[in-house]
Amino acid sequence: MSETPRSTLLNLGTGRPAVQVLEAGDGSPLLFLHGAGGIAAWEGVLPLLSSKHHVYAPLLPGFGQSTGLEYLEDQFDLFLHGFDVIEALGLERPYVVGESLGGWMAAEMAALRPDKIGRLALAAPVGLWRDEAPVVDLFGSMAHELAPYLFHDMTCAAAQRMLGLTQLFSNKDDRTQEQIETLIGMSRGFRTVAKFLFPIPESGLERRLWRIKAPTLIVWGEQDRFISPMYADIFREKIASAEVVKIPNAGHLIGLEMPEPYAKALIEWGK
């Protein structure tokens, strides 16, 4: 089940990004748009999804081997880039699953061109804002301080692994070359995220949500402390065909912390 994904590099042409796509599984296509942490390993929800679907997981420029962030100057460029990737992959009205940053991107794309997205699942997407429930500042904290906002249970393996990784950010001079490259790779990915979401991850999605036609599943971790689950209700109100599933004992990174019930809901929605 946890097969190694195939990795291909999509060249979208001169003056446009080059996109690394991870692919695994057979079955109907599922386009997976990753969150701000990228895809560090084929783990958590991903192998579960690829047991039922042909999963395509393109990486945004700055993540993995994807390059060309400079060609995406604003959010509009980013969303059009998403459609370019769909077209290059030869997908027709795919089932799109997006997590957090990727959920925002998927929602914006589905609002921009409703006819191009078949089904939609948004897992704790950013993109809305209420003063009474501010989204945690992803860019104004130390990495080890963020982890407790991302997981419900800090003792779970994924949370511990993330804490281990954040140790790299502390000032010390005994890093291995591999650790240095990991660190620089992470900062490159965060750069991409900051380009589109700094300083507040909201830029009008709410007034466009009504345009979404695809049947939309909103998934939220019941204990999400990064983005309050109250936002699920706003998505449900504003998207005509939306349903909400809340996953118990899950924080923001549902796919790493509670992959089974999350995958079950996504696979059910994709049928």
């Binding site: 301080e145 000032n171 010390k172 001079d173 890093r175 620089i184 900051a194 700094f198 507040i200």
Partner: protein
């Protein structure tokens, strides 16, 4: 004005000293470090008392005016936002106040974070106003700005900040020099009509100084455009050696002459009658600065994209980041003095170290922070007095074989307006009794 001393006229080739103020708040509480994660960005402003602030601003402006009267070549202010040790969100307001109350010293605004102003022609206008009011005494600083100021307080995107900065710079420079209205179709600023009123006195424009913290990109920018590089560091001249060696190596590699006046360094300095008195008088205020004012929250020092990947890589490998450790926190007076974080002591001690500083860093301009932390008025002015009279005259001529291309071309002193003189000239006539026509 102190007898025997004078501010540097622009034609004189002497080392220049600018008296630089940060304007810290003086009453951060005792348990400040334990209760708050940093001095900047989100420090609650309930700690600020505006009535105390009234006294503080006026004392601080008085200190700067005294520096002018004492013969310092320039007096300097800078820009910070939401900051407990830098109470100048608008340095231009301070510079305007100084322009009207001084007439000798050059006025260094280091500077305006030009990517913050929309449109950036606002900076071109305000700097032009300052230059005209002051009779051409302005030195114009263009910092990119710290992450705390520009990204966290002013919401600029760290990834596009440098591109926006460069565009703002190009617009300001063109606005200062154009003699016809022009259209500016930039990526960040679009203006159909740019037509600056007033124009600066200095031609083609006031000297431009670029403050930086050691990145190669900034050195190259200064070299390309012929600007002064002002290295800002609170860790003192001994630790700056490595960075400025890098600067001079880079200038040599780019084929630039090693002109000391292309380089400014900032140093915190305390002068008292004796070394012993200096420690006794200054330690509480120095301690306040290094352990309260520099209590910075690392989570807001490096937003993603603020540095180029090359600089990130250099920083990770060389560990050149400004950690609280190398910024002088938790150090004794002796450690701070021995490490060069501060130059402190009797005039003779300070004289020797200032000379060592200038020669080892090869800087023709020295920014001296003679007010530190919570220092009160009399102590600061004593230090200013001793530095002006017993230090400056001995180290002035270190670099007299180089031409200073980075100093204002002010109007000659006898052509500069004296604030208030016009009222005086007409007072008798203006206040004459009502004339009754018979």
């Amino acid at each position: 004005m102190t007898p025997g001393l004078k501010n540097a006229a622009h034609e004189e080739i002497i080392m220049k000293f600018n008296w630089f103020h940060l304007m810290p708040y003086r009453w951060l509480p005792e348990d400040f470090r334990e209760r708050y994660h940093g001095v900047w960005v989100d420090l609650p402003n309930s700690l600020y008392d505006p009535e105390r602030g009234h006294t503080l601003y006026n004392e601080y402006l008085d200190m700067l005016e005294y520096a002018d009267q004492s013969g310092f070549d320039a007096i300097g202010v800078n820009e910070h936002h939401q900051n407990g040790y830098g109470l100048m969100p608008s340095p231009n307001l301070m510079a305007a106040a100084l322009a009207r109350r001084t007439s000798n010293a050059m006025i260094l605004v280091l500077g305006n974070s030009i990517a913050l102003y929309n449109p950036p022609t606002r900076v071109a206008e305000e700097f032009a106003m300052l230059d005209v009011i002051s009779g051409g005494r302005l030195i114009a600083g263009f910092p990119v700005g710290t992450p705390m100021d520009v990204n966290y307080c002013y919401g600029q995107n760290p990834v596009t900040l440098r591109e926006k900065y460069r565009e703002a710079h190009d617009l300001i420079l063109k606005a200062w020099q154009a003699r016809e209205p022009f259209a500016w179709n930039g990526k960040y600023t679009k203006l159909r009509y740019v037509n600056l009123w007033p124009q600066p006195i200095q031609k083609p424009h006031p000297p431009i100084w670029i403050p930086g913290t050691g990145s190669i990109e900034t050195w190259d920018f200064c070299a390309e455009l012929g600007y002064n590089y002002s290295y800002l560091s609170f860790s003192g001249y001994k630790r700056a050696r490595k960075v400025l060696d890098g600067y001079w190596e880079r200038m040599a590699a780019l084929g630039k002459e090693p002109n000391p006046y292309s380089c400014t360094f900032f140093q915190q300095i305390c002068v008292s009658d004796t070394d012993e008195a200096c420690e006794r008088e200054w330690w509480p205020h120095v301690n306040y600065f290094f352990n309260k004012c520099l209590h910075l929250y690392p989570g807001m020092m490096g937003p993603p994209g603020y540095m180029t990947e090359a600089s990130v890589r250099a920083g990770v490998v060389a560990q050149a980041g400004n950690t609280s450790l190398n910024m002088g926190g938790n150090k004794s007076w002796k450690e701070l003095v021995d490490g060069g974080y501060i130059i402190a002591g009797s005039p003779a001690t300070v004289r020797q170290q200032v000379e060592e500083l200038a020669r080892s860093l090869r800087c023709g301009h020295l920014g001296v922070a003679l007010h530190i932390g919570s220092a009160p008025m009399e102590l600061t002015n004593r230090s200013t007095y001793l530095f002006a009279n017993e230090v400056i005259p001995h180290v002035r001529s270190i670099w007299n074989d180089w031409e200073d291309h980075w100093w204002p071309k002010a109007l000659p002193a006898n052509k500069r307006e004296q604030p208030g003189s016009h009222n005086a000239a007409v007072q008798a006539r203006a206040e004459r009794p009502t004339e009754v026509i018979a």
